[in-house]
């Protein structure tokens, strides 16, 4: 069928040429049922592909998270998920875990807690920067930082994740962090030297960590004291029980 054939045939004046077939308008039921059938088939196809793809997508996200936690906590032996509930951190929340904010505590081979990893996001220069950082509540120092998501300017702002000098600035820096320009750096423990040409992005990274610690730093400290006490009790029980 050529485009416009029907319209041209209908508009030809009567009395010229042979009688033309009358174009029958399809009923509304036909139109609706055509689209409904197409929609149903499309839905089915998408559901089938989703069932195949979703476990793979979730497995990948879990792998990325595990890699990030391992990196910012300096390679712990294992880690556990902690939920932020009622101003404290707990392994077993009362509420449904789906809506709860979470952090991750890493343990070394001996079962001692080595640090807590927390993720956070705030607007950077282009879009929200999401990052994860490791924190040691006993010394109040950051253990490491890794950017999870950013759309900062390639070549400038994206140095917050690609410039290894800047990323290494966060290893062992004490909190609250202090973002300084390189010319004004004094060598203070809390100083993070910002990237020239990417001041807004660098400052955003510093602020994200500071704000997150302001929000849950106290709960982390309380959890940590409990964790240390438990570890000591375990040690005591072990040495007491030994012959």
């Amino acid at each position: 069928m050529r485009a416009g054939e029907g319209t041209a045939a209908e508009s030809r004046p009567a009395g010229r040429g042979p009688p033309l077939p009358v174009q029958v308008e399809p009923s509304s039921v036909r139109l609706v049922s055509t689209l409904a059938t197409a929609g149903a088939v499309a839905g089915l196809a998408i559901v089938l592909v989703f069932q195949w793809a979703n476990p793979r997508i979730e497995a990948h996200q879990a792998r990325v998270l595990t890699a990030a936690i391992t990196e910012v906590l300096g390679g712990p032996d294992r880690y556990e998920t902690l939920f932020v509930e009622g101003g404290g951190l707990t392994f077993t929340p009362v509420a449904d875990t789906a809506g709860l904010d979470r952090v991750w505590v890493g343990y070394d081979r001996a079962g001692r807690a080595v640090g807590i990893a927390a993720a956070a996001g705030e607007p950077g220069f282009q879009d929200v920067i999401r990052l994860i950082f490791g924190y040691d509540p006993s010394s109040g120092r950051v253990l490491g930082m890794k950017v999870l998501e950013s759309k900062e300017t390639p070549g400038l702002g994206d140095k917050i994740e690609k410039d290894s000098m800047f990323v290494r600035e966060f290893e062992g820096v004490s909190t609250p962090l202090l973002g300084v320009k390189s010319a004004r750096a004094t060598g203070d423990d809390a100083e993070v030297v910002m990237i020239t040409g990417a001041t807004i992005s660098s400052r955003a990274v510093v602020d994200i960590i500071n704000h997150r610690l302001e929000a849950i730093g106290a709960s982390m400290g309380a959890f940590w004291r409990g964790e240390v006490a438990r570890a000591e009790a375990r040690e005591a029980a072990r040495s007491g029980g030994a012959p």
Partner: protein, 222 residues
């Protein structure tokens, strides 16, 4: 536009070069500018679009007699959107890093007028075999265009091609080529080249003597 092609080979080849969707028809420019900062991204975007175009063309060509013309555009969009969703899920499952780099542009393949255009102009009026040839030709043309832009931008913007360093450590990357402006510059230069090549070809095809005679006959009555 070239005359309606008759042979299968012509249907296949015109989309790649003479009616290239990006360089000649100027369709699908949004992804062609937005995600072509590296060859890998260009290739992934091109392949995803190719898959959607091919799948939609086959389905539209098969179902063309059952779709009333009053609801054809809605039906085509439904078919295209389904293939785009499938492409989106498969990319996220198989190549998550590239899926992340392409971001929203995978979902935006739905509104790529090149795809809807091929359904309305070709697949809905031709048998499946020719619809496949048309989709393969146009899809390949789109991949060629995206990889050409992506190659140019990656070589100058990162000094590499498909992630393989080409220009050595002394090369200072042209950051502008990775930014959106670099996409516009590159497309502009390629269109300029295409226009120049087309004009040269048109001139060389015309016989000199005939052209001189024609000039004379036009000017003679004055």
């Amino acid at each position: 536009m070239s005359p309606t092609p008759t042979t299968g080979v012509q249907v296949l080849s015109r989309g790649v070069w003479r009616e290239n969707p990006v360089f000649v028809q100027l369709l699908g420019l949004c992804p062609a500018l937005a995600v072509t900062n590296t060859v890998a991204n260009s290739l992934a975007m091109g392949l995803a679009t190719f898959f959607v175009l091919l799948g939609s063309s086959v389905l539209v060509s098969v179902a063309k007699d059952w779709i009333p013309k009053q609801v054809r555009i809605s039906a085509y969009i439904l078919v295209i959107a389904t293939f785009v969703t499938i492409a989106d899920l498969v990319l996220a499952a198989v190549v998550p890093d590239i899926h992340k780099a392409l971001g929203a542009f995978i979902a935006l393949i739905v509104v790529n007028c090149m795809i809807l255009g091929r359904q309305e102009a070709f697949a809905s009026k031709n048998p499946v075999g020719r619809a496949v040839l048309d989709a393969v030709g146009t899809g390949a043309g789109f991949i060629v265009a995206l990889v050409a832009i992506g190659g140019f931008r990656e070589v100058l913007g990162y000094g590499s091609f498909l992630g393989v360093p080409l220009l050595g450590p002394a090369f200072e990357p042209w950051v502008v080529m990775i930014l959106p402006a670099g996409g516009f510059f590159t497309l502009g230069f390629i269109l300029l080249g295409f226009g120049w090549w087309e004009a040269r070809r048109a001139n060389s095809v015309r016989p000199r003597r005939w052209m001189n005679e024609a000039t004379v006959t036009v000017e003679a009555p004055r």
